[in-house]
Amino acid sequence: MKYSLYNLVKNSFSYHENWEKAWSSPDLKPEYDVVIVGGGGHGLGTAYYLAKEFGVKNIAVLEKGWIGGGNTGRNTTIIRSNYLWDESAALYNHAVNLWEGLSSELNFNVMFSQRGLFHLAHSVHDMQEITRRGYSNYLNGIDAEILNQDQVAKKIPHINVNGRYPVLGALLQRRAGTARHDAVAWGYARAAENLGVDIIQNCEVKGIDISNGKVVGLQTTKGSVKVDKVGLVPAGHSSVLANMAGFSLPINSVPLQALVSEPVKPILDCVIMSNSVHVYVSQSDKGELVVGAGSDAYNSYSQRGSFDMIEHMMAPLVELFPIFSRLKMLRSWGGIVDVTPDRSPIIGKTPVKDLFINCGWGTGGFKATPGSAHVFAETVFRGEPNDIAAPFSLERHFSGALVDEAAAAAVAH
C-alpha cells in the first residue's frame, strides 16, 4: 500500500489495522544470484538498486541482527558532500543528489532535512583549510559559502564566537543537513522487498565458501546458501568477513560514540561541526541535541567506547554554546567504525572472484548511503567499478593513490 497522507487518513478509519508489513521475513532460499551481507543502509540500498536499476531478480540481504542495527541506526546523521578531493566530492555529491529525491523514490519519508551545515574555523590555519575546501567544492559544483565571524554570529543564534578558540569564520553548505537514520534502512528494505529482494534478519554469515578462487557459497546461522556473487557491506565487521575469505584489510575497527540530550523546543536549526574545538551537534526533529566527536584509538567490537570520549565532547559543546550547559545528556551509545588509513572507503573487487566489498566508511558513511549503494550495485552487477567508485579500490594501498581526507585536515605550522 502506498504511503501517503490520503492513505494515512483512510486507514485511520479502520484503526490502522490494514497496513501491510513494511518488509517480511522470508526463509533463506538455497540459492541466490546475489547475496548482500549486511543489512545496513548501504547493504539494503545496494540490493534495492541491483533489483531496480540492474534487473537482478534473485537477491538476498543477510543481516546478523536487525536491519539498520549497525551504524546506520547509531550515527549522528550528518549529511554533506563538501569533501576536499575530487574523488570524494564526486562520490558524496552523487549521494546528496540521490538523497534529495529519496523520500519520493522510496515512498518512505527519510526526512532529509537540508538545514545547512557550518564547519567552524577557529584559527588562521582553519580559515585556510575551509577556504581551500570551499573553493574546491565550488569548482566541483558543490555549494559552498565562506563566512566571516559576523556572518556566523548572525546566522547561528547563541553561538559563542569569542571563546578560547574564537570562531573566525565558517564554511557553509546549505544543501547539507540530516536525515532520519532508521527510516533510511526501513525505506530501502521496504522498497527492495517490493522488488522481490529477500531480507533475512538474524542470519549471520559465518563462513565463505571459495572454489578455485571464486566465491560459491556462504555458511550462515540459518544454513548454507549457494551464490553467484556476493557483496560484503558489513560495516563494523569488515575485517571479520574478509578474514573468512582469506584476506585482510587496511582497516581498524574502533568505537565511535554519540549522545543525545533531553529534548527541548527548537533552539538550533542547523548542523555545526568544529574540528578544532572538536564537537559536532545538531538538533533532531524530536528536539534532542545530537552530539558527536572523536573515536577511541583502540580496536573494539563491543559497540561501546570509553566514557572520556563523551566527556571530551561536553566541554567543547559548552564552549561553543554556553547556553547548553544546563541541558542534560539523555543517552550515549557507541558504534563500531571501520577506519581506513586515508579515511576514505573501499569499494570494489577483492582477491576473491565475484566477491565484492564496500566498507571502510569509518566515521562518515551515513551521508554516502544512497551514493555508495548505487555505485556498489553497479560494481557488483558489472564486476567492475564505475568511474565514481574506481578510485576507492583496495589496490590504492599498494600504488599509493590514497584519497587522503585525513591528511588534508592535518595541522602543523
Binding site: 532529509f112 573553493y135 526533529d285 602543523a412
Partner: protein, 1001 residues
C-alpha cells in the same frame, strides 16, 4: 485554601517551616521536606504538564527518579532548566516552576488538538507522509519541530559552577535502601573503604514509606540506628542526593551529586553539582525496584498514580492525593497502601485482576470497609484534567476477554500496581546479563560480572527477611574478598505486614479489540506510545524489540522507559505468543538518569577550556598590544599593530623593518629535542631524508621528515652540539608528534640503538633576530665572535648574550642575516627587553607570525601544514636536493617508488605571480584548466600561500600545480567565487634574493 490535601498529622515534612513557591505563576505554600510534586499535590494541583505528542493532560505518576509525566521547567532566566522531574525537586523558598509543552497554558493548550487528530498520528505516521513535494519537507518539519521538544533551553550562559572528582574506594554501594545500608554496614565494620551512594536526600529507600518490624519492634527506629552507626564509621563515605549515572568496564562508575540544587541562595564558591568518577575494587548494586504501571484505556490521566507513590505521598509528606480512591492491582503487596489510605480517612475501592485473594487480606479489607472487585479490570477512565470516573469490567482469564456488565466507579484518585521491576539499568550497563523471571514477571539479573554483587529488590529479592541476611553478608563477603577482617554475622528478624511475592503482567486485560479501536492504553507515558502503537509496529514488521522501540519511540523519553519497558515487552510477548525471554530487551545505556552537560564539562569552561600555552615573553607581547594567533594550544603574536594599523599595514611595516634593518621574533614555540648517544647520527639518518653522518660539530642542517607513507610530515634545523649530541627543532604544531615519532622507533623498532631523546621545547626561549643590522646589533651584547669568518651561516655557537649563557644559531627563515638566540626560559623576557632597548638605534621591530610567513614566502621556504598537507612528497615540493640518493634506507623512502607516488604529473610546488600585479589570490583558491562561466571546472591545483610582498611591492603566491615543474612561465587562471577570473604566471618559488646572498652576509 492552602494545603487542602495535607493530612492532619503524619509525614515527615516540617510543618513549622512553610515554604513559598510559584507554579505556573501562582503562589503556593509547601513545607520543608516537600518535593515540588508533594507540595503541588498537597495544594490539589494535579495537572502538571502536557505529553509529547498528543499534548494530553498529565499529572504525577510516581514519587521518584523514574517519573515520566510530571516534568517541569524549573527556575528562571539563565538558571532555567527544562524537563526537571517534580518528584525529585526538593522545595526551597522562592522556587518557580512551570508546565511545559503547552501553549498558551497547561489548562488551555492549543496543541491538545493533536489528541483529537490522534487517529491519523499513529506510531511512525511521519514516515508515511510529508514526502511531497520533496522541497516542502523543511516547511512541514518546522511545525513538527515546534510541536515536539518538551521544555525550553536556557538562552543565556549558565552562571553556576560545576566541580568534578576522581575517587578510589574498595567498595561502592549504589542505593541506600535497607539492602545497601546493610551491605555498607557489613563492609564498613570490616574496616574497608566504603562509598555509599543514594539519589535521595534521606537514606532508607523504600522502607522509609512502609511499616515493618525488626525483631518484632518498630523497624524505623532500627533503621535509624543502622544509619547512625554508618555515619559514625570513618571508613564509610555516604553521598546523598547523588545518582550513579554510568557503570563502565573495570568497575568505573560515574555519579552526579546535587550539591546546592536545593539551596535557596546560589553560591559563588560551592558548585551546583559535582560529577564523580569512581573506581572501586567491588561494586554492590542495591538500587531497588520500580513499581510497574498497569495498562488500560486512558491510564494517563492526572490523578492516576503508582500505589507506591501514593504510599509515599501519604506516609512521607502527609499528603492524601485523593479522598475517594481506587486501588487497581495484580498483587497482594499493594493492599498495604489501601490500608494506609483508609487509615488516613480515604474511601478505598480495590479492583484486583486476580480471582483468589489471601484470606488475611480479605478479612482486613472487610474490616476496613474496602470493597474488592476480584477478577476485575479497570477498562477506561474519564475526567478532563483529572480522573473522576472509571469503568471496570470482569476479566475472563481463560478466554482472555472482558465479560459482563461495565461498572462505573466515581473516584478522584486511582492507585495502580502492576508489580515491581528491579532497577537493572546499571547492572546491564556493566555487561551483566538479564533473564526473565516468570514469578514476578520481569527481568532480573542473571550473570554478573567480576567484582560485582547485586542485592535486595535490585536482584529480584523482595522478601525482607531474606534481604536482611543476604545484604549484610554481601557486604561482609565483598570485604573478605578484599582481605579485610571477618565481621560477626547478626540475626535480625524482619517482617512486613504483606510482602511482595509475585505478580503478572496482564496484557489480557487489554482485550485486543479495545486496544486497537481508538482508545489509548498508554505504555510509554512521556512519548505517548499506546498499546495500539505496539500492535501496529508488529503488524508492519517492526518485530525486533529494537525496531519496535525505534518505530514507536517507546522507552526513548527522558525516563528511558523505567516505567514502560517491561510492559512493552510483555505486550510483544503476548502478540507473538512467545516467552518474553525470546522477545529480549533493548540495550540499557548511560546515563541512568539525565545528566547535566555542564557538570560533565566541569571546570573546563571559559578561560580554563583549554590551556593557553605561553612563552616566557608572552607578557611583554600582551603589554605591547600584540594581536595573537592560536597555533595549536600556543598563543603566538600574529602581528604588533602600532597606533591604528590594520593587519596589512602592520605586516608591511614589520616586513620592511626586517629587510632593511632589524626585526625580532619570538620563536620559542618551535619544538626542540635534545638527542644524545653514540648512535644519534645513525638515528638521524633514518629519521630525516638527507644525510647526517658528516655534519661537523658546531654546524646546523635543515632536515625533512617523511612518514613511512613517503609524505612530508615535519621539518626543521638540527645542530650538532657535540660528538654525540644534537639539538633538533621541529614545527610548533608538530613538536609532540615528532617526539612521539622518534620515541616510537627507538622504543619499538630499534631497541639497540643508543640514543636518548629529551624534549627541551620550554627550556629555551628563542629570540630570532633578523635583518641586515642584526650582526651589528648583537655584537655589542655578546662575547661571541660574530664575524662572518668565525661564525658563518648554518653554524652554532655558545656564549653569553646580555650576560646570560646562550646558544646562538645562525640560521634564517627570512632570508636575511639572522641569529636565533636561545636562552634559558627564565631569562627570555629579560633578554628580550634588553634587545628592545639596545635595538632602538636600529629601529628594532618586533614582528609576528604573519610577517614571518610573508618573509619566508618571498624566499620560497615551505611551511609544513600550509604548503604541504600530508599528501605531498619531497619531490612534489621540488626538494629532491634534500633526499639522499645514497642512503640505503630512511623512513618513507620505500614509498617514493610506488606507482602513484612516482608519477610525474603529480601536483608540484610552484610560484605564482598575478599578471595584474595587484590582486592577492585567496589562499585556498584553485587553478583550473579552463575558466568557465559556471562550475564545474577541472582543477589543476591550489594556492597554498599568498601575500602582498612589501619587499617587492606586488603580490606573490605559492601553489601546488599539476605537473607544475614543466609549466614554468605558463599562464594559468584562478576563478574566484565572486566570478572574477585572475590570471597568473607560473614561476619558481623563490621571489627574492634567489642567490641567497643576504643570509650568507
Amino acid at each position: 485554601m492552602s494545603n487542602q490535601n495535607r493530612t492532619i498529622y503524619g509525614g515527615k515534612v516540617n510543618r513549622e517551616k512553610p515554604i513559598n513557591f510559584v507554579f505556573n505563576g501562582k503562589s503556593y505554600i509547601g513545607y520543608q521536606g516537600d518535593t515540588l510534586a508533594s507540595a503541588l499535590l498537597a495544594n490539589d494541583v494535579h495537572l502538571i504538564g502536557r505529553s509529547f505528542k498528543y499534548h494530553r493532560a498529565r499529572g504525577i505518576l510516581t514519587a521518584g527518579s523514574e517519573e515520566p509525566n510530571a516534568i517541569v521547567q524549573l527556575g528562571l532566566g539563565a538558571r532555567t532548566e527544562p524537563n526537571i522531574r517534580a518528584t525529585e525537586v526538593e522545595l526551597y523558598e522562592g522556587l518557580e516552576a512551570s508546565s511545559q509543552n503547552c501553549w498558551p497554558s497547561v489548562n488551555f493548550d492549543i496543541g491538545a488538538m493533536n489528541n483529537f487528530l490522534s487517529r491519523i498520528f499513529p506510531a511512525g505516521f511521519y514516515y508515511k507522509t510529508f514526502k511531497w513535494p520533496p522541497s516542502m519537507w523543511l516547511f512541514y518539519e518546522h511545525f513538527i519541530r515546534k510541536a515536539a521538544g518538551l521544555g525550553q533551553s536556557p538562552t543565556a550562559k549558565n552562571p553556576d559552577r560545576y566541580e568534578q572528582k576522581f575517587y578510589y574506594t574498595d567498595i561502592t554501594i549504589v542505593g541506600g535502601g535497607i539492602s545497601g545500608l546493610l551491605a555498607a554496614l557489613g563492609a564498613g565494620r570490616s574496616g574497608c573503604k566504603v562509598l555509599l551512594i543514594d539519589e535521595n536526600p534521606e537514606l532508607g529507600g523504600y522502607l522509609l514509606d512502609y511499616n515493618f518490624s525488626i525483631n518484632e519492634k518498630d523497624g524505623k527506629k532500627w533503621l535509624k540506628k543502622i544509619i547512625d552507626e554508618l555515619n559514625g564509621l570513618a571508613n564509610v563515605v555516604i553521598l546523598k542526593r547523588t545518582t550513579a549515572m554510568g557503570y563502565y568496564d573495570y568497575n568505573y562508575l560515574t555519579a552526579l551529586e546535587k550539591v546546592t540544587n536545593h539551596h535557596v541562595e546560589f553560591s559563588s564558591t560551592l558548585p551546583r553539582e559535582r560529577y564523580w568518577r569512581i573506581r572501586s575494587k567491588k561494586v554492590i548494586l542495591a538500587q531497588g525496584a520500580f513499581e510497574r504501571p498497569l495498562v488500560f484505556a486512558d491510564n494517563d490521566r492526572p490523578g492516576i498514580m503508582m500505589a507506591s507513590a501514593g504510599q509515599k505521598y501519604l506516609s512521607r509528606y502527609g499528603v492524601l492525593p485523593g479522598k475517594s480512591v481506587v486501588l487497581f492491582t495484580n498483587n497482594d503487596h499493594a493492599y498495604l497502601t489501601a490500608f494506609e489510605f483508609v487509615e488516613k480517612g480515604a474511601k478505598v475501592t480495590v479492583v484486583d485482576t486476580r480471582d483468589l485473594l489471601n484470606a488475611r487480606i480479605s478479612e482486613k479489607c472487610k474490616s476496613l470497609n474496602i470493597t474488592v472487585f476480584k477478577s476485575y479490570s479497570v477498562i477506561k477512565t474519564y475526567g478532563d484534567k483529572k480522573v473522576n470516573r472509571i469503568e471496570i469490567q470482569q476479566v475472563d482469564k481463560n478466554q482472555n476477554q472482558l465479560t459482563g456488565e461495565v461498572d462505573n466507579i466515581h473516584t478522584d484518585c486511582v492507585l495502580m500496581s502492576g508489580g515491581w521491576n528491579p532497577a537493572v539499568q546499571l547492572f546491564s550497563q556493566s555487561r551483566g546479563k538479564l533473564k526473565y523471571d516468570l514469578k514476578i514477571n520481569t527481568f532480573v539479573p542473571d550473570k554478573i560480572i567480576e567484582n560485582q554483587k547485586i542485592i535486595g529488590s535490585n536482584n529480584g529479592q523482595f522478601n525482607l527477611q531474606e534481604n536482611l541476611n543476604e545484604s549484610f553478608e554481601a557486604g561482609i563477603a565483598a570485604a573478605n574478598e578484599l582481605n579485610f577482617n571477618s565481621v560477626e554475622k547478626v540475626n535480625w528478624t524482619g517482617k512486613e505486614e504483606i510482602e511482595f511475592t509475585h505478580s503478572d503482567v496482564e496484557p489480557y486485560m487489554l482485550g485486543k479489540k479495545k486496544v486497537t479501536k481508538g482508545s489509548k492504553h498508554f505504555i510509554d507515558f512521556q512519548n505517548d506510545v499506546t498499546a495500539a502503537d505496539i500492535f501496529l509496529a508488529q503488524r508492519e514488521g517492526y518485530i525486533s524489540v529494537e525496531h519496535t522501540k525505534r518505530y514507536t519511540t517507546t522507552g526513548m523519553g527522558t525516563d528511558q522507559g523505567k516505567t514502560s519497558n517491561v510492559n512493552a515487552l510483555a505486550l510483544m510477548s503476548h502478540i507473538h505468543n512467545k516467552p518474553v525471554d525470546e522477545i529480549g530487551h533493548t540495550t540499557f545505556r548511560p546515563p541512568y538518569a539525565p545528566q547535566t552537560i555542564g557538570a560533565i564539562a566541569g571546570r573546563s569552561v571559559d578561560k580554563l577550556f583549554d590551556p593557553e600555552r605561553k612563552t616566557s615573553m608572552h607578557e611583554w607581547h600582551v603589554e605591547n598590544k600584540a594581536v595573537f594567533e592560536d597555533v595549536g594550544q600556543w598563543k603566538r603574536p600574529y602581528y604588533f599593530p602600532q597606533n591604528k594599523e590594520d593587519i596589512h599595514q602592520a605586516v608591511k611595516r614589520e616586513c620592511l623593518a626586517v629587510r632593511n634593518s632589524l626585526g625580532i621574533l619570538d620563536a620559542s614555540t618551535l619544538g626542540k629535542i635534545d638527542l644524545q648517544g653514540p648512535d644519534a647520527a645513525k638515528f638521524l639518518n633514518m629519521i630525516y631524508t638527507n644525510a647526517w653522518s658528516k655534519l661537523e660539530i658546531g654546524s646546523c642542517r635543515y632536515g625533512l621528515m617523511c612518514n613511512e607513507h613517503g609524505m612530508i610530515f615535519d621539518d626543521g634545523v638540527t645542530s650538532r652540539l657535540g660528538e654525540n649530541h644534537y639539538h633538533m627543532t621541529t614545527t610548533t604544531g608538530g613538536a609532540a608528534r615528532v617526539m612521539s615519532w622518534l620515541e616510537e622507533f627507538l622504543q619499538t623498532e630499534w631497541l639497540d640503538m643508543k640514543v636518548f631523546c629529551t624534549s627541551v621545547t620550554e627550556q629555551w626561549a628563542v629570540l630570532s633576530i633578523s635583518g641586515p643590522n642584526s650582526r651589528e646589533f648583537l655584537k655589542d651584547l655578546t662575547n661571541i665572535d660574530l664575524s662572518k669568518e668565525k661564525f658563518p651561516f648554518m653554524k652554532f655557537r655558545e656564549g653569553e648574550v646580555c650576560g646570560v649563557k646562550a646558544r646562538v644559531f645562525r640560521i634564517s627563515f627570512t632570508g636575511e642575516l639572522s641569529y636565533e638566540v636561545n636562552v634559558p626560559a627564565r631569562y627570555g623576557r629579560y633578554v628580550w627587553e634588553k634587545f628592545m632597548e639596545h635595538g632602538k638605534k636600529y629601529n628594532i621591530t618586533p614582528y609576528g607570525t604573519e610577517t614571518m610567513h610573508v618573509l619566508r614566502a618571498e624566499k620560497g621556504f615551505i611551511i609544513v601544514g600550509q604548503d604541504t598537507d600530508g599528501s605531498v612528497t619531497p619531490s612534489d615540493m621540488n626538494m629532491d636536493w634534500i633526499v639522499s640518493k645514497k642512503k640505503e634506507d630512511f623512513l618513507g623512502k620505500r614509498s617514493f617508488t610506488r606507482p602513484d607516488t612516482a608519477r610525474h604529473d603529480r601536483k608540484k610546488f610552484v610560484g605564482l605571480l598575478v599578471n595584474d600585479k595587484k590582486t592577492i589570490l585567496p589562499e585556498g583558491s584553485h587553478i583550473v584548466e579552463k575558466a568557465l562561466k559556471q562550475p564545474p571546472m577541472k582543477m589543476l591545483g591550489h594556492v597554498t600561500s599568498s601575500y602582498y610582498s612589501p619587499t617587492l611591492g606586488y603580490p606573490i603566491a605559492l601553489a601546488m600545480l599539476k605537473d607544475g615543474f614543466s609549466k614554468m612561465g605558463e599562464q594559468v587562471v584562478v576563478p574566484l567565487m565572486n566570478g572574477k577570473i585572475i590570471e597568473a604566471t607560473v614561476t619558481d618559488t623563490i621571489f627574492y634574493d634567489k642567490e641567497g646572498k643576504r643570509n650568507n652576509e
